[in-house]
Amino acid sequence: MAEPAHQGAQAVLTMPDGQGAWASEARAAARARFDAMGAPTKRDEYWKFTDSAPLSYDTTPHAALFRPGEIPLFTNLDRLKVVFRDGQFDAEASDDLAMEHVEIHMLAEAAKADLHWAKDIYGVLEARGQDPVSRPFAALNTAYAKNGVVIRVTGKAPKPISLIYAHDDEDSDAILHHVVKVESGASLTILENGPAAARFNKCMEIDVADGGEFHHIRAQGRDHERRAVTHMFARLGTESVYKSFTMTVNGVLTRNECVIELTGDDAVAHVAGAALGDGKTGDFHHDDTVFITHDALNCESRQVFKKVLRNGAVGVFQGKILVKEGAQKTDGYQISQSLLLDDDSQFLAKPELEIYADDVACSHGSTSGAIDEEALFYLRSRGVPEAEAQDLLVLAFLAEALDEVEDETISEELLGRLQDWLARHR
């Protein structure tokens, strides 16, 4: 692990100027964390299925711009838009940041101000998430993030905040770090979409106080050359709710990490993902790495990850449920499944349970399978053409993950995109 940590990182990455004391301290501490752990290598157990090299700052990234000409997701939703272009805040393309019950700051500005609630979260949840498994790219992010949103919600947010990541520069490196504080009884939905940059490192820290609700819907793709590493660090209070769904299509390398701590009794955390990759239209490697810690009574966690892989696409799932001593009545569920549409594709899964309480219900399952030929014939015998029948079965496979999206309008829109993708990749 003690390799020189990203020789190039020092040269490429610079800490933002003009930071206030708390931000400078948080960044310096993160840098020290990163130096101590070093960049991931192939010898790291946590990176044995995914090559981190394209994410390292020793190389200059390059990604062709992807302009499919379709209406971007969430366009017709009533939302508050915050646009980042290659990692820089684009105020002109964004909406006015004022909204009832919600404070929205830019990290670049907030770092200069004394926002006590932000400094209690920034780099704090990330640092907590470094134990027992280190997450070097997250520490790097905390140290060098150029910008991001810093959000505090004190009531029910009247509409979702939509983070839009535009990509205009073929060689851009974007590092964004968001902080979300959901106060007691408050609720917020965050949407994320857009190709972001040639290389994207994004971190979001979410602190949900007692009775608060955080909902998150993210769409990654259809850009093919995306190299992205993302982290979600969440801490959940009593009776709070955290629900996150990610749809991913295409992408040469995507690593989505999610680290959740259930620290208050009766909290609920659901994390789900649907990823589709077709090696024929570009290399596809998608990695979902999830770590959920139960540290309170009667909490529920649910991980539902589904991948559809074809023509040499690779899917990875590393998911853990850790039930700490005393976290009785834990209800933990984890399912990771892949649908391999040919013999060339690959699904690598490492499901883990670690339980130190004796009165819990935890289950996990992981499967790889092909299209059910019996079901396919049954559909065709009723007149459904083969390609359409296969799509129907693929969507049926993804349904359990998509069902995690509570908002029907959003769920329908995502379903439409999945159908379109399948129709293009027949």
Binding site: D372, E373, E374, A375, F377, Y378, L379, R380, S381, R382, G383, V384, P385, E386, E388, A389, L392, L393, L395, A396, F397, A399, E400
Partner: protein, 251 residues
């Protein structure tokens, strides 16, 4: 309606001949029954006609209204008017029964150059057909055949048949796993579809289904061939004496 001429079929994976020259003609408006001992090739015939993988046609042809269907994809056969009610209907988790039926109905209409059925018309039609088969709204919403009892699965097959209105219906042991009441319901569903423009091929082990669905012609199949054909009395003969007498007679 359906003309099968000297049809010989083997398995793709192994050297095994299952159908050894089947000749069968079913005219429009008729109901034919095929009976025969286990392993005689009855189910294979139904699968080959509907286009299931794994079989190799070594000779002969099968014409639906004069058109050879053996070269067609399963969905093309369905659009041409062929329907197989499965002996073991397949469970499809994640696909709602209603979505499935609507996709099928509209795919067939599209293949025939007809306009898609509107959601309202579809709903009206399916409610009416489902009611006759005692299929409730809950069953329509559930994933296809998932958690259905044996009887529910078979009724669901007949519902599909009623919705798709095929010309040539093949029922593969639709009576298996049914109690008397369920069998009556299924038979009523089939009888309601009897029509001068439609024909049925009913594959069964037992005569009792034929009490409810009166056949015009009964065929006995053995060792991959139709060995005897006759009127409804032939089914009674099987019921009373088994197959051995008939097989001895034709041997």
């Amino acid at each position: 309606m359906l003309e099968i001429k000297n049809l010989a079929v083997g398995l793709e994976e192994e050297e095994k001949q299952i159908l050894k020259g089947v000749d069968l003609t079913v005219n429009s408006g008729e109901v034919h029954a095929i009976m025969g001992p286990n392993g005689s090739g009855k189910s294979t015939l139904s699968y080959v006609l509907s286009g299931r993988d794994g079989y190799e046609v070594t000779s002969g042809e099968a014409l639906l209204e004069g058109e050879d269907i053996l070269e067609m994809e399963p969905e093309e056969r369905a659009a041409a008017g062929l329907f197989l009610a499965f002996q073991y209907p397949v469970e499809i988790p994640g696909v709602g029964n209603m979505t499935f039926l609507r996709t099928a109905v509209n795919a067939q209409r599209k293949a025939r150059g007809q306009e898609e059925m509107s959601a309202a018309d579809f709903l009206k039609l399916i409610r009416e057909k489902a009611k006759a088969l005692k299929i409730d709204a809950e069953m329509l919403k559930r994933p296809v055949n998932v958690g259905f009892s044996g009887g529910e699965k078979k009724r669901n097959e007949i519902l599909q048949m009623a919705m798709l209105e095929p010309k040539m219906c093949i029922l593969d042991e639709t009576d298996s796993g049914l109690d008397v009441d369920a069998m009556k319901l299924v038979a009523e569903g089939v009888n309601a579809l009897r029509d001068a423009g439609r024909a049925f091929l009913v594959i069964t082990h037992y005569q009792r289904l034929l009490d409810h669905i009166q056949p015009d012609v009964v065929h006995i199949m053995a060792d991959g061939k139709i060995v005897k054909s006759g009127g409804p009395d032939l089914a009674l003969e099987v019921e009373n004496n088994g197959y051995s007498d008939i097989l001895a007679e034709v041997a």
